[in-house]
Amino acid sequence: MAEKKNIFERIWDFFASLKLAIVLLLLLAVTSIIGTIIEQNVEPAKNIQLLTKIFGVKAAPTLYNIFVRLGFMDMYHSWWYTSLLTLFALNLTICSLERLPKTWRLIKRPITPLPENAMENMPLKREVRVKTSLSIAKDEILNALRKARYNVFEASDDSGVQLYTQKGNYTRLGVYIVHCSILLILGGAIIGARFGFDGFLNLPEGGASSYAYTRSGDPVPLGFTIKCNWYDTRYYPGTDTPQEFQSELVIFENGREVLKKRIEVNSPLKYKGFTFYQSSYGMIPDAEGEFILRVTNNRGEEKVLYLHLGDTFDIPGTGIKGRIVDFSPALGRDPSTGELITYADTMVNPAVAIQFNIEGDAHGAESGFKGWILRRYPETGLLPGGHKVEFIDYWGVEYTGLQVSKDPGVWIIYLASIVMGLGLYVAFFMSHKKIWVRLVTEGSGGGNSVRILIAGSTSKNRLALERQIEHILERATETINQRQSQKK
């Protein structure tokens, strides 16, 4: 009578089952779809709209409530999805633990000679006959095997000699390495969720902060101060396609500057566990900024000016005076009327309007002219007479949007990635191979021919072993034939 299993053993068996693994893999795959259709963590209206579209006005509110109960609006953090992941981790651990001792025995088991009839029954085998003595045949097979880096053992009985060898025993561990890396990733993710921080910080140009903010708006102290010197969007020449979003950030500790970096989208600033990513930007409402202009006269003397709307300036040594009269963040022409318009409210194509006058000119303002100088088109600042006004920036009106995160688990994730890469390589591209070779003298009397029977088995990729065995045989028979002909 079969022994009755206790509750612990039954639970263990449940988690060690491979059926459960396949069911869980497919279940996770299917349920994950929900969260890609229902938009996660957005205001209710969006998803109610979606439900109305699919199920009609009547059913939508009820369905929405049911879905909220089921956690579908933040489903990857819902109790049931996390439970599935926990089950998955348990299954993976126990299933691997259950199998590991068996695999370990397979790895450690020394290879033994096979009886001839067992070799005959192997699916992968080859047979050749060579005209030579047993010892020469054995030598050459041995050489060929060693060239293929096999560590060969030898046994002989009254009917012949057997060579047997195996390699790649440890590649059987590849799958366990992969499984281990999956657990590591789950562990790293838990650590990140527990001890990490994911927030944001909007800094105006020139502004500084010692706090970052969580998604719900709570301040979290950084332990240092971060300042934004400037924010800038660069565009591809002649287009409004952004080429780079960038900010210059400075870190201060105890009032001293300790680090300065220009960040870009793929190049964040890291300091004391926090990472600051360029994630958005925008205009500060109603901000009064500072115009930064560089004026150069035709002798090449230049000067950088910091001005406000309405300020006047002069170009040194020329008698030309300018006054800032207008600003547009995005100056363009209306395609139908041809008039100048502002076509966007962010600084896509910033332009400053300047009223120029010549000093001492009796006609005053009437003799001057007003011109728009566009930052992205420096040629708009060329004045008659070879003088030049460049619009460098309208500073202090934009803010940079920083994503601030701290993830102490990310190193585990990276480590796990490397482990998984290695594990996958071993699991898919390496194998545990065994080869047996039996050599028997044939023919009458002392015999002048040897029958070589070679058989192999492998944990995967039989084709590759087949090719290797053929190669070994070829190499051995070739050298045997050479030696034979030399002897003659």
């Binding site: 491979l18 059926k19 693994a21 396949i22 893999l25 497919l26 996770l28 795959a29 994950s32 779809i33 969260g35 890609t36 259709i37 938009e39 996660q40 990857y76 993710a189 994911d198 591809y236 020449p237 287009t239 396609t241 952004p242 080429q243 780079e244 979003f245 870009e264 989208v265 793929n266 190049s267 964040p268 990472t275 990513y277 994630s279 994503q403 601030v404 995160s405 993830d407 990310v410 994730i413 990276y414 990635s417 998984m420 890469g421 996958l424 390589y425 699991a427 898919f428 591209f429 084709l463």
Partner: protein
């Protein structure tokens, strides 16, 4: 000649190759088989030239905007893998390459009748969906080496999965004995749906007003068939589609007789189906999931944010992991795992196209 011209010719050649492989399967003349291979190789060579020329174009575009970057970085940034169009083209290139390798290694041309349609359909999809073919400047989020390797390896992985899909369909055609078998019903419905969606998109494309092709999916997708404002047309579309699937189901079995008379064996198909997944899975794990996560971490500040593209990659990964375990650990064989291979490829198609076309998310990358 410029890149686009070479590419058009190669597209044409791939269609001819597809037809020739199918003709070969139907009439079994060695001359036809040789022609099919020759045309495929010619198409492949031309596509390679088109790909390299396009690389040169986008390299120049990058350098003109960023004169100060190093040579290597400029070459990497110039890689023509920056939008959906370019990635589809690369996918086709990979799948044809993998197919040619298989043809030479296994010395069989029958599989061409299954693989080349996958390549040709992908190319047809490009034209039908009206996606932008411009050489576009690289937006900031895409300026990362991780992203480049991520895309490169993912697409080789996808192509390998595509080959396994073709082999699995061929396998199912070969081994199912009757129309009432579940596996037979499954493959005929799936292939039927794939073809119907493509044909429907073709009709959308033809009936689309000439000018704004930009927002094809939102404005035109299935609007001239299933989602037509006229109920008659919509109902008719459903009826025709169902009739088409029934037709495929009724006469698909004829393919079996055709295949049976070839040198290709079901073991060979099963092996190709598995081997492609065994190559695709590690590539997709490392290139798709891991490098994608590293890139996301460097660009967005989070290696995993459950956005639809990420989740669908995970789904695909889980499906193929399910396949591998079913086959190697649970010991499933034959039809059961071939069906899993088909389901896995549905995951691929959705990860690759469905998410970009239908679901919103962080991934600005690859929009039409």
């Amino acid at each position: 000649m410029d890149s686009a011209t070479f590419f058009s010719i190669s597209t044409l050649l791939y269609f001819v190759a597809m037809a020739t492989y199918i003709a070969y399967v139907a009439i079994r003349k060695t001359g036809v088989a040789l022609a099919a291979t020759t045309v495929t190789i010619a198409g492949f060579v031309l596509q390679t030239i088109a790909f390299l020329l396009r690389w040169v174009d986008s390299y120049n575009l990058w350098v003109s905007a960023n004169p100060s970057t190093t040579l290597i970085e400029s070459i990497l940034r110039g890689a023509p893998l920056r939008n959906l169009y370019e990635s589809l083209v690369f996918f086709v290139w990979c799948i044809v390459l993998i197919y040619l390798i298989i043809e030479f290694r296994y010395k069989t041309r029958t599989l061409g009748a299954f693989v080349m349609p996958v390549a040709a359909l992908a190319l047809a999809f490009i034209d039908v969906s009206g996606m932008s073919k411009e050489v576009q400047p690289l937006i900031p989020a895409l300026q990362s080496n991780w992203l480049l390797f991520h895309v490169l390896l993912s697409f080789i992985g996808y192509a390998a999965f595509g080959v396994s899909f073709a082999a699995a369909v061929a396998y199912l055609v070969m081994v199912t004995e009757s129309r009432n078998e579940k596996a037979y019903i499954f493959w005929s419905i799936m292939v039927g749906i794939l073809l119907i969606v493509l044909i429907a998109m073709g009709i959308d494309y033809l009936s689309m007003s000439a000018s704004p092709k930009g927002n094809f999916i939102r404005n035109y997708f299935l609007r001239s068939t299933f989602k037509s404002p006229s109920d008659t047309v919509a109902i008719l579309s459903w009826i025709i589609s169902i009739a088409f699937i029934v037709f495929l189901w009724r006469y698909g079995i004829g393919l079996k007789r055709v295949l049976a008379s070839f040198s290709i064996t079901k073991n060979m198909l099963e092996e190709i189906e598995y081997k492609s997944i065994a190559i695709g899975f590690p590539l997709f794990s490392i290139g798709g999931l891991i490098m994608g996560a590293i890139w996301a971490n460097s660009a967005w500040g989070s290696y995993w944010s459950w956005d639809p593209k990420e989740v669908w990659s995970l789904i695909t990964w889980l499906l193929y992991a399910g396949y591998l375990h079913a086959r190697f650990v649970a010991g499933w064989r034959g039809k059961k795992v071939a069906v899993l291979a088909l389901i896995g490829f549905v995951g691929v198609v959705f990860t690759y196209l469905g998410v970009n076309l239908f679901l919103s998310g962080l991934h600005a990358y690859g929009g039409l």
